[in-house]
Symmetry: C2
Subunit: 242 residues, 2 copies
């Protein structure tokens, strides 16, 4: 593997725009976008990459670390650096950070986005869900209703909606919803919401969503999901007004 990834680049002085690390990030991204680096492929070593781009290993490591947290690259200790599969889950994992660091009015906005996507995903799921997928949904629905432990309820609640999103058949949408429902995000909002005795209402809403799925009724599913998220949204709005 002597092939240099940067062959053909202008040999003149570097463009001098931004930091060298930022430049390295852009160059690696360009290599992937341009198809010279395929998903799953192994990159040259940090030392070689740094030499090829004419920067120090330290700067190259910062670039690699940045692309790692973005879900573009994956570093395996002792083995090498690899391009991820670039699937929705890999790249949208950082979406959870947004949810975790948002507060106040932005939480309402996030819930509004979730309401829109979740209702559509649930409608799609109603049309496409298979018996096996439906059984999985029902498993979490039953488990949710069989316990009083808030932690367990939250876990099955998450899984309930995750299965539905998966049944919608759009991995990208499912990955975004996963981020919008990240554990810490929901734990923060759910805690206060459920403390006000919303368990019964939540169960009713989940049951309504389930009925719509069984009936393969997209419009009913859309309405039920929108109402479900909307309830939390309105509660949070009221909290912020105080």
């Amino acid at each position: 593997m002597d092939e240099t990834l940067t062959q053909g680049a202008q040999p003149g002085p570097a463009p001098q725009k931004g930091t060298v690390t930022q430049r390295a990030i852009e160059q690696i991204k360009a290599l992937i976008a341009g198809g010279r680096l395929e998903p799953g492929q192994r990159l040259p070593t940090e030392r070689d990459l740094a030499a090829q781009l004419g920067i120090s290993r330290s700067s190259m490591r910062e670039a690699i670390r940045a692309l790692t947290v973005l879900g573009v690259l994956e570093a395996r200790h002792g083995s090498g650096i690899y391009v991820t599969q670039l699937e929705a889950g890999d790249l949208l994992e950082t979406f959870g950070v947004v949810a975790d660091l948002s507060r106040g009015p932005r939480l309402v906005e996030l819930l509004e986005v979730r309401r829109i996507l979740e209702s559509t995903a649930t409608a799609l799921a109603a049309a496409r869900i298979t018996p096996a997928q439906l059984a999985e949904v029902e498993k979490h629905l039953a488990a949710m209703n069989a316990t009083d432990d808030p932690e367990e309820i939250l876990a099955h609640d998450l899984a309930f909606h995750r299965e539905i999103a998966a049944a919608a058949g759009n991995d990208t949408m499912a990955a975004i919803l996963e981020g919008l429902s990240s554990r810490t995000f929901r734990a923060r909002v759910w805690r206060g919401y459920q403390e006000e005795g919303a368990f019964a209402r939540t169960r009713r809403e989940h049951a309504a969503i389930h009925r719509a799925l069984v009936a393969h009724d997209p419009e009913a599913a859309r309405a039920a999901a929108a109402a479900h998220v909307g309830e939390v949204e309105q509660w949070l709005r009221a909290q912020l007004d105080r």
Copy 2:
């Protein structure tokens, strides 16, 4: 500013989970999520932070760089490191990376997500848009129809939809749509689409969206926007089938 941010942390041996850099990232994120670091606030120097967490400056720099590309921190050369305002635009800038690195079927999924959000945003805009905002939209619409330069058309096309998204009143949604419409993403898809003489159709669709905005008719706006994005979506689907 002698106050240490890490006071109160367990003094025992480090948790030993993951790399030290990853740990540093989580700790800084926790400081922000916990409210000990406010938006806009300045952090201690890299050297001090590294000393407080007991790691080297190199590792701390990687952590800071990672949080910088995520839009959580901002480093100003010669001045210091600051927490961003943590607004939707800051945190969702990375969404463009997803769009730029996605190919094949995932592009269709992204367009589907955009169709859902864009149609809702346009509907909201129809209900809420102000005369001033409407004038801005019309400016880009006129500019788009007054030129034949594809680059200029694309720029005003982006601005057209950006203004509408802004008028919807949900910054988070607007930021996501901005990522889904990032310049390189649209340039890749638009190029082929417009080459097939879709200019006339695009103009008709934009006109329909504009009419709905003027009439403050959310449902018409939703339908027009969904059809607009849907056209591209269907074209891309057909391309992939070949």
